[in-house]
């Protein structure tokens, strides 16, 4: 019997800044400048600040169901820090940090999570996609957007972020496969926070890593420590460079941990206990970078206090602005269904506005 090996593959894991706040091996160029790292740090802290406020507001009935990104800040922020402004972000529903970095305002985030469509009409990154609620359903959009920029010959790339649960869905796979065969400048980033609501990573797939799902579609796959914002940024920068230069898509798996509940509608104690969660607090990304910055002498206690203060003030101001924003007028529910209101719908709109029925 002739048995020959016809293809072989390896999945690498990249990690730089350890959970002890020590750098392993040489840091990437950008990380040599503490100012760069402080920018990343500030963004993570602002995100955490927004997150805490959003959860609190939901608890007091002033915001809708909200998905906290606690503990996973390095994933989204590391990713978008490697992007250029003209690139396109196609985010999941948990990447508030990434959206903020890209220019979505705190107030717009509050609007969205407060149940107001205007939150997705953000003034900043006009080509960025709104968050996708149906899991993985946004992955094909990333391929489409990437094909669009490629066909126009633009020097832009697309980053699509999704969860570990999303990697079980057919549209995730179909999208990666299409990205591979059409060679589009897209990077798919999995925020592997180990849980999809109550379903642990191990019950999503028998695959040892999620990065190896790239093998199925012939694209590059790599795993990165998702609590290490420096490593995430570096891996994403490399993937984006390949996307731009060669139209080669990459699947990046960032391994992190969801420290909070799935959303404010969830109670994680039903399916995991403190003993499971606690060790992950030791590895969380914010303290880790702070320790490193402190070690460098680049970050003082006063800096920290001032930052926390600033973030809180910004977030509070945005929350107040949101709360002071009246809802859209009722008739606007009809106004964006089509470019022009069809006669049929105009009748419904008129009837609804005069409180009668068209039916």
């Amino acid at each position: 019997m002739a048995r020959t090996t016809v293809a072989s593959f390896a999945i690498d894991r990249v990690a730089m800044l350890g959970s002890d706040g020590q750098m392993r091996g040489a840091a990437p160029a950008f990380a040599a400048d503490p100012a760069e790292l402080i920018t990343l740090y500030r963004a993570m802290v602002l995100t955490r600040s927004f997150d805490a406020k959003a959860v609190a507001m939901q608890r007091t009935g002033r915001l809708g169901t909200y998905a906290s990104v606690l503990g996973q800040e390095a994933v989204g922020i590391g990713a978008v820090a490697a992007m250029r402004p003209e690139d396109i972000l196609v985010p999941s529903f948990r990447e508030h940090g990434a959206q903020l970095w890209r220019g979505v305002t705190l107030e717009e985030l509050f609007l969205y999570w407060g149940g107001d469509e205007r939150g997705s009409n953000f003034a900043g990154p006009r080509d960025d996609f709104p968050v996708a609620i149906p899991v993985a359903s946004h992955t094909p959009h990333a391929v489409g957007a990437a094909l669009a920029v490629k066909l126009r010959g633009e020097d832009r790339a697309v980053v699509c972020i999704m969860g570990d649960g999303a990697t079980s869905k057919g549209d995730f796979y179909e999208s990666l496969n299409l990205a591979g065969v059409w060679s589009v400048p897209a990077v798919f980033l999995v925020n592997n926070n180990q849980w999809a609501i109550s379903v642990p990573r191990s019950a999503q797939s028998a695959a040892e890593t999620l990065a190896q799902k790239a093998v199925a579609v012939g694209i590059d796959g790599v795993q990165v420590d998702g609590n290490d914002v420096i490593a995430v940024r570096q891996v994403m920068a490399e993937a984006l460079a390949r996307a731009r230069a060669e139209g080669r898509p990459t699947l990046v798996e960032a391994v992190t941990y969801r420290l909070g509940d799935h959303t404010t509608a969830d109670d994680a104690r039903r399916y995991r206990d403190d003993a499971e969660v606690s060790p992950h607090w030791e590895k969380e990304p914010v303290a880790r970078l702070r320790t490193y910055l402190r070690g460098l002498g680049a970050w003082s206690r006063a800096d920290e206090e001032k930052l926390l203060e600033d973030c809180r003030a910004q977030v509070d101001a945005a929350a107040d602005a949101f709360l002071a924003t009246p809802p859209q007028p009722p008739e606007t529910i009809f106004d964006h269904i089509y470019a022009e209101l069809p006669a049929d719908l105009a009748a419904q709109r008129a009837a609804a506005m005069e409180g009668s029925d068209d039916g």
């Binding site: 809708g64 169901t65 529903f93 969205y112 407060g114 149940g115 107001d116 469509e117 609620i133 149906p134 899991v135 993985a136 649960g165 999303a166 079980s168 869905k169 057919g170 549209d171 999809a196 609501i197 109550s198 379903v199 019950a203 999503q204 797939s205 509608a265 969830d266 039903r270 399916y271 809802p327 859209q328 009722p330 606007t332 529910i333 009809f334 269904i337 049929d344 719908l345 419904q348 709109r349 609804a352 409180g355 009668s356 029925d357 068209d358 039916g359």
Partner: protein, 326 residues
């Protein structure tokens, strides 16, 4: 006999069905230890074990498809889709396969499965969490489409759905999952899958509805009674196959009909009922049939969601128009 909510009734029926028939399985996202995001399957995994109560990966198409395979092989899977907004990837399996195995094989292979999903709006949920697309399934030959409107109904219809030899799409009005409590005897007795239920008798106008809108519709009947208008309220319960006889009989009596549903007007299942009235009940109709429904728009986010939801006042107004029609 305890008073229980609709979601508890679903759970009670599932437990009963699993108890009485080993081939009944429950599967879906978070249905195991978590007990489902609405707790419809709470405790089942402790009672029946992880073989029969199975958390799936996050993949709706295969949740439906694996259920088809199980059902064809003699099991009775009850699959949960977490919210109706995520049900679209199951359409291929439900329409192309579940609904057809019996017919394509002349009865050799059958597909006794239940696809459950909470549906409807009004709970200020996030985007894509508030769909009412029952009409999409009700158009498909080979499927049954069942929607309970109360705890007792949920219990009896769910048992019937699980025991039915054919695929059933079972849509649960999540807005009233916990709104109503009712005494439900856990005696294993089912309610028929081919019958509309008269919730309240009346003589002046027939109000036809299903699911959560039965609350507003009954409230409207109550309000109408105060002004001496006697409204009959019908809960369709099983949209497909449709028991038009009950509706026609009522409209024959009242001569007037208002159909109430939360789904968008155009192509909603109310159209089917109104059409059949126009076909078979035209001569009984003393006033035009009216539909009080959601608008033909995307469900607004929570801040304006109430602008979408048909309220009691709209039902009352329509019934009044019907009665006053000369």
């Amino acid at each position: 006999m305890a008073e229980i909510t609709l979601v508890e009734a679903v759970r009670l029926a599932l437990a009963r069905a699993m108890e009485e028939d080993e081939s009944v399985l429950v599967l879906g996202e978070d249905v195991g230890v978590d007990g489902g995001v609405f707790r419809a399957t709470d405790g089942l995994i402790r009672r029946f074990g992880p073989d029969r109560v199975r958390d799936t990966p996050l993949a709706e198409a295969v949740i439906a498809g694996v259920s088809v395979g199980l059902a064809v092989q003699g099991f009775r899977p009850v699959a949960e889709i977490q919210f109706m907004g995520f049900i679209y990837p199951t359409m291929d399996q439900m329409v192309n396969h579940a609904a057809r195995f019996r017919n394509r094989t002349r009865g050799r292979l059958t597909c006794p499965m239940v696809l459950r999903a909470p549906y409807g709006g009004g709970i200020h949920a996030p985007e894509h969490h508030s769909e009412s697309n029952e009409a999409m399934f009700a158009h498909m030959p080979g499927l049954r489409v069942v929607i309970p409107s109360s705890p007792a109904r949920a219990y009896g219809l769910m048992l019937a759905a699980v025991r039915d030899p054919d695929p059933v799409v079972f849509l649960e009005p999540k807005r009233i999952y916990r709104a109503i409590k009712e005494e439900v005897a856990d005696d294993g007795s089912e309610q028929p899958l081919d019958t509309c239920f008269v919730l309240r008798e009346g003589t002046d106008v027939t109000l036809v509805t299903w699911g959560a809108m039965s609350v507003e519709t009954l409230a409207a009947a109550e309000a109408l009674a105060e002004t001496e208008i006697s409204a009959e309220v019908i809960d369709v319960a099983t949209l497909k196959p449709l028991d038009m006889a009950t509706i026609l009989a009522s409209v024959e009596k009242t001569g007037r009909c208002v159909i109430v549903h939360e789904a968008a007007l155009t192509g909603g299942f109310g159209g089917e009922i109104a059409a059949r009235l126009a076909e078979h009940g035209l001569m009984s109709l003393l006033a035009p049939v009216q539909r009080v429904t959601g608008h033909d728009i995307v469900m607004p986010l929570p801040r304006l969601e109430d602008q979408y939801m048909p309220g009691t006042d709209r039902v009352v107004a329509a019934a009044r128009r019907a009665v006053e029609f000369a």
